[in-house]
């Protein structure tokens, strides 16, 4: 089953039909104090074969966005209250659960931050992968088993055939994440949503898993929505990046571009607060204040209380996310006049 392989480094020219198109997505959660908006008008798209990073801190709404896309909010008290999510032209927000379930695993897959908690401890890893294969690829038990072993090997698990019958607790964190990848990719989905897949892993393990992800993407022509807070991971693996703050996207651009010349003060702040290698003794540049929680977002631009460049206009209205420069969107009134420093 070959797919047209697209090399990662050749950013594909925008085709008329993006694989995933999220438009003005809004999500609210029901709480003791009434409904609280967590995702407030998020818009972005992913082309086939492309890796888009969704970057933000806790409370930004990035994970909830991912959950909304794949329709997993039904298990919580969150609801999509507006906007659309189109996958390959198909509207997902109105799709009945039964059809969504068919899509999950075969068209869109997701992996999570804590791999051990995402695997059922009562079943062997092999059988869990085989179950996905059997279901979506309509395989016999024997064929599903064979495919599962194939997949385990492909994700770099040594002695895959022997380890088919092992249980999740017998694997380390990094290996569990590989098993998750095997499960997520066994049915050849076109889009993989990875929610902080390497945050819980050691740095050397992370490097290998990211490398694996890159290899698999090239082999399978996969699109990836990578949710992370680690800008280093973004730099190494992603084509484009969207930065989220307080439920909105505040900047979106090609990864290289955003890192070199960010246009939104929040992005600049994030970059400046990272300890650069071997620049000892200097104080880190910190963003003052703290991330506002959903439900108590400030009036006007949500970042303005913490922004070094805020002016009166910033208090009064929320800037629109607009395409200012080639392929580079930002949500800041002053983006054009500011010239923000990025990474060297």
């Amino acid at each position: 089953m070959t797919r047209p392989v697209e090399l990662r480094h050749e950013a594909p020219a925008p085709t008329p039909q993006p694989l995933l198109a999220v438009e003005d997505l809004r999500v609210s959660f029901g709480t003791d104090v009434g409904p609280v908006t967590v995702v407030d008008g998020v818009t972005f798209s992913i082309q086939p074969g492309e890796t888009l990073a969704l970057v933000g801190e806790s409370g930004s709404g990035k994970s909830v966005t991912a959950m909304a896309i794949i329709g997993l909010l039904r298990h919580s008290n969150g609801r999509i209250t507006g906007g659309s999510v189109r996958f390959d032209g198909r509207e997902l927000t109105t799709l009945p659960e039964k059809q969504l379930r068919t899509m999950r695993g075969s068209s869109i897959s997701m992996i999570f931050q804590e791999p051990r908690r995402s695997l059922d401890p009562a079943f062997s890893v092999g059988s869990q992968i085989a179950e996905v294969a059997a279901r979506h690829l309509d395989l016999s038990r024997r064929d599903a088993r064979r495919r599962a072993i194939e997949m385990l090997d492909r994700v770099g698990i040594p002695a895959a055939a022997q380890r088919f019958g092992d249980y999740p607790h017998e694997f380390s964190g990094g290996m569990c994440q590989r098993v998750m990848l095997a499960m997520a990719l066994v049915a050849n989905p076109r889009l993989l949503i990875a929610d902080e897949p390497t945050t819980a892993l050691d740095v050397t393990v992370q490097a290998r898993v990211l490398r694996l992800l890159g290899d698999l993407q090239q082999e399978m022509g996969l699109s990836i929505l990578l949710i992370t807070h680690d800008l280093g991971v973004v730099a190494e693996t992603c084509d484009r990046v969207a930065v989220m703050y307080a439920g909105q996207i505040v900047e979106e651009a090609a990864a290289e571009t955003l890192l070199r010349s960010p246009r939104h003060p929040y992005s600049e702040g994030l970059l400046a607060s990272l300890p650069q290698f071997l620049d000892p003794g200097q104080r880190l540049v910190a963003i003052s204040g703290s991330v506002p929680i959903p439900g108590s977002w400030p009036q006007g631009c949500r970042f303005h209380p913490r922004c070094d460049y805020a002016v009166d206009a910033c208090r009064e209205a929320i800037p629109e996310l607009a395409l200012k420069v080639d392929g580079h969107h930002d949500r800041c009134f002053r983006a054009d006049e500011l010239s923000l420093p990025g990474v060297s």
């Binding site: 709480t31 409370g59 994970s63 959950m67 997993l72 695993g105 995402s118 059922d120």
Partner: protein, 296 residues
């Protein structure tokens, strides 16, 4: 089947400035509040029993035995013509005192030993747990009877027995709570501060274990009443002419063939009090349980 991992079902909600979450939540639980008021009411009655009782609870009038409720005797009279209403009030005091005694002993024996055992672990815990297991293996009523056999009948002694019998439950609970709290990082932090073992237990472990212990104590009220009623019913608890609700049930039971009325008031009182204590315990458990801070 896609794996369902960490679905964020919780949300960082803006924090309301609640001073004490537990009290706040308890206040909203109507049933629990009703039960609380009821118990407080009974305590007040018990405190002022001798002042409130309209007639002498021990005054016998054999010509007026086993009368139903009337203007003179609001709840009628018992087998010896004594005013049931007054007896109920005084018995309330006796019963609640007994509860305080029994529960008090159980708590005093069980909780400190449980907390220490759970925190220190190893040899201390091994010994204490085995002793407790041994205690729990003995059928409670028989054990109580045995202790009374040693000490002689009488309400106080019966309550000592009840307290001893009930203490293993508090021990276990305190031990479990202590073990769990002992794992919490802030315990390590205060130890790094230089806290002595005693201070750690008193100022840190106990307050953080108080939730389940409070619930168990409330439930314990009901259990001790049942125990006292049973023992008094058997004649091993309160001795005549004093009355507890349990002994009044016994009295009523003895004359069932003559009159079905006199058994009702004490029975209803016991049932209502037990129900109130259990429901309050439930409400407390809910109020404390939801105190978990919601965070991402």
């Amino acid at each position: 089947m896609t794996a369902i991992g960490d679905i964020p079902t919780k949300l960082p909600v803006p924090r309301r400035p609640e001073r004490s979450g537990v009290v706040f939540r308890l206040r909203r639980d109507r049933i629990a509040m009703v039960c609380l008021f009821l118990l407080v009411f009974l305590i007040v009655v018990a405190l002022f029993a001798h002042l409130i009782a309209p007639q002498n609870p021990n005054a016998q009038a054999l010509t007026n035995r086993l009368e139903g409720p009337s203007g003179k005797h609001w709840l009628g009279t018992d087998n010896f013509g004594r005013d049931l209403f007054s007896r109920m009030i005084v018995a309330c005091r006796v019963t609640l005192l007994a509860v305080a005694e029994g529960l008090g002993i159980a708590v005093v024996i069980g909780i400190p030993t449980g907390l220490i055992s759970g925190y220190l672990g190893r040899a201390t815990d091994a010994i204490a747990s085995r002793v407790t297991d041994g205690l729990m293996a003995i059928p409670p009523l028989i054990f109580a009877i045995a202790i009374i056999g040693m000490l002689g009948p009488g309400l106080s002694k019966a309550m000592i027995a009840v307290g001893v019998v009930l203490s293993p439950r508090f021990f276990r609970l305190a031990r479990a709570a202590s073990q769990s709290v002992a794992q919490d990082p802030y315990i390590e932090a205060v130890r790094a501060d230089g806290c002595s073992v005693f201070r750690v237990l008193w100022r840190h472990v106990l307050p953080n274990s108080s939730g389940p212990l409070l619930v168990q104590t409330t439930l314990g009220i009901g259990e001790v009443i049942i125990a006292e009623a049973s023992l008094s019913f058997l004649g091993l608890g309160v001795q005549a002419p004093d009355a507890s609700w349990g002994s009044m049930i016994r009295d009523g039971f003895d004359v069932l063939n003559e009159s079905a009325w006199s058994i009702f008031p004490p029975t209803i009182a016991v049932v209502v009090t037990i129900a109130a204590s259990f429901m309050l315990g439930d409400g407390l458990r809910d109020a404390i349980g939801r105190k978990q801070r919601v965070r991402e």
